[in-house]
Symmetry: C2
Subunit: 363 residues, 2 copies
């Protein structure tokens, strides 16, 4: 087992990464401070791991809420179901919420914890690669609004994160690949050696090799923990973690949440960011194609949907949280492993990228 | 103008108290950091003060959302209306929410600010005595749930509070008196000299004398700011501010939110707390009657509704946020100006208090 620390002063917490952690006694239990907990999970994960988590919680009095699966459930309405359950079962401020599932479960449960009785403890037990390497770490919680993704939420840190890489064996292949998009993102942001390690090992990762996956989760969490510790509330450097996300969120929204998986949209979004960086003269066409090639080898889409028009992108990106002073803020590349935050991008070049589709990075 | 500071480190903020502050130029404007603001108010307050606030905001680009009036509107549904407005008008993270109204507007707008795009700035412009002396200070924000008051919310501090005592002239008499309940509460908690000052001046306060009201708001805010600074998240001493609230919340809920005003329910609740303190042998019957007499002179109800049974109280109080480990936590009195936090109260004595009604404190 590897233990990482997210260094946030009094809000610091550990991330445990390893194989078979859910079956480990005395790992989860000490992080529940009161006598009660509510496990929030979904109908796909519950049959697989709910039993193990209940067992790991030992003498804690557990209630369970099983939600439907999918990004379309990440709404205020679903959030209300968690409040209803907590109040119907009379959970007090001393309760702990346990988020057992992927990013949707983690985000919505974390937001419920941030706001139930003005804040109760919560624990993240991410069961997808994407949530293990990204959404479970860093305290971003929230729900979507019809007019934008993650528009309602809070920064709220868990008591701990337990990333059992063994559960990735049950992950649908498409979701494993979607998770690799966020893994590759860390290489592109500021970790060229990791990017090169991924180039060497992507086939094994796609094949689900445990040791490789554990290493990928570890490095991703290390990178994320470092960036979050430097900028918890995203006043600056944390925005780098949104590489590919401005374009990606627009794709997710345009196609209807859940049609494209988040990681898939981010993959195409990163190719678009690479393309725009080439057009700006910041990276070479060869570098952009190298990024695109790795994503493609990970089985990820590198061409955005044909049906989204430039006007659609502009409208949807204008709603993004990354808009500052009316200007869309992009995360772009000054090199592989050298992401930068830029706004005020030349509109003509942006339009070229939005129209490039199959020709992205083939400049 | 009096300026108080709520000392919360990087979350510190000023409270401005005085007559005619809304008309003062350059008071409100510097606290809006971005170029845009959304003023949230209600249909009663808007015709009176919306114009003045818009003017005070000068060159800030203002949108307005006018909500219905009343405690029954303090729900997740109303909260959604604020998100909808912010997104429809494309407000960014740099926006500022301005809460112009009483406690309901302040609580719900503050919670919207805490959660829109994971947190934007907000300013409190309380227009009722109750919100000036209590709810606008201290960062408690939130909404009610059908199963309990303020069950969903966040601790989130404003940029500043502007308490213009002149607006109290337009306050309905019933609401002025309801506000005095929270004023008297500060005397009972830990400020005997203020309690005695209130005994000497209650008639003038009820008559709406400006100088007296300004003094009452000042001392109340001072007391509250001191207690909040000592315990922002209510881990300990801040719970004293809930004097009368465990009983009061049960009354509000049993009668239907808005039937009894919050301050009215708290007044009756404080009489019940005094009564229970006498039964426990902690204060004399004379002291309890002195507290009751002051509340009565302020025109406040000192007898809880006849129709609430002991069973009703027990059921409703068990839902209160002040429940810890299944035990209801009461704020009681060890003297006038000496409130204490106690749980594990003798059930038989509690029952006597719940049944006493007109006989409260007449022991």
């Amino acid at each position: 087992m590897i233990t990482l620390e997210v260094s946030l002063g009094e809000r610091a917490y550990p991330i445990f990464i390893g194989q078979g952690l859910l079956a480990q006694t005395n790992l989860l239990r000490p992080f529940v401070k009161g006598r009660r907990a509510l496990i929030v999970t979904n109908e796909v994960v519950a049959p697989l791991y709910l039993g193990a988590v209940r067992e790991a919680l030992g003498d804690v009095q557990c209630d369970t809420l099983i939600l439907p699966d999918g990004e379309h459930t990440k709404t205020l309405q679903t959030l209300s179901l968690i409040y209803d359950k907590l109040l119907a079962e009379r959970h007090e401020r001393s309760t702990t919420l346990v988020a057992l599932g992927g990013g949707v479960i983690g985000d919505i449960t974390g937001f419920a914890a941030a706001t139930y009785q003005r804040g109760v403890n919560f624990i993240q037990v991410p069961t997808t690669l994407l949530s293990q390497v990204d959404s479970s770490v860093g305290g971003k919680t929230g729900v979507n609004h019809p007019l934008g993704k993650n528009m309602i939420g809070a920064f709220y840190q868990p008591q701990c994160v337990i990333a059992d890489t063994q559960v990735l064996q049950s992950l649908p292949f498409r979701e494993l690949k979607a998770g690799l998009a966020e893994v590759i993102k860390y290489g592109l942001i500021d970790n060229l050696p990791f990017f090169e390690w991924l180039e060497a090992n992507v086939d094994g990762l796609v094949a689900g090799e445990q040791t490789l996956l554990a290493e990928a989760v570890k490095v991703s969490c290390q990178d994320k923990a470092r960036i979050v510790a430097a900028d918890e509330k995203e006043g600056g450097v944390r925005a780098l973690l949104n590489l590919g996300h401005t374009f990606g969120h627009a794709i997710e929204n345009a196609m209807g949440y859940g049609t494209w998986l988040h990681g898939e949209a981010v993959a195409a979004g990163m190719v678009m960011a690479a393309d725009l960086s080439v057009r700006l003269g910041w990276i070479s066409s060869a570098e952009a194609r190298r990024a695109k090639a790795l994503l493609q080898r990970a089985g990820l889409p590198v061409v955005p949907p044909a049906e989204i028009s430039v006007a659609d992108y502009m409208r949807l990106m204008a709603f993004d949280k990354k808009v500052v002073g009316g200007k869309i803020r992009f995360i772009l590349m000054r090199g592989l492993g050298q992401a930068v935050i830029e706004s005020g991008i030349d509109a003509a070049l942006l339009e070229q990228t939005l129209e490039a589709k199959e020709q992205l990075c083939e400049i």
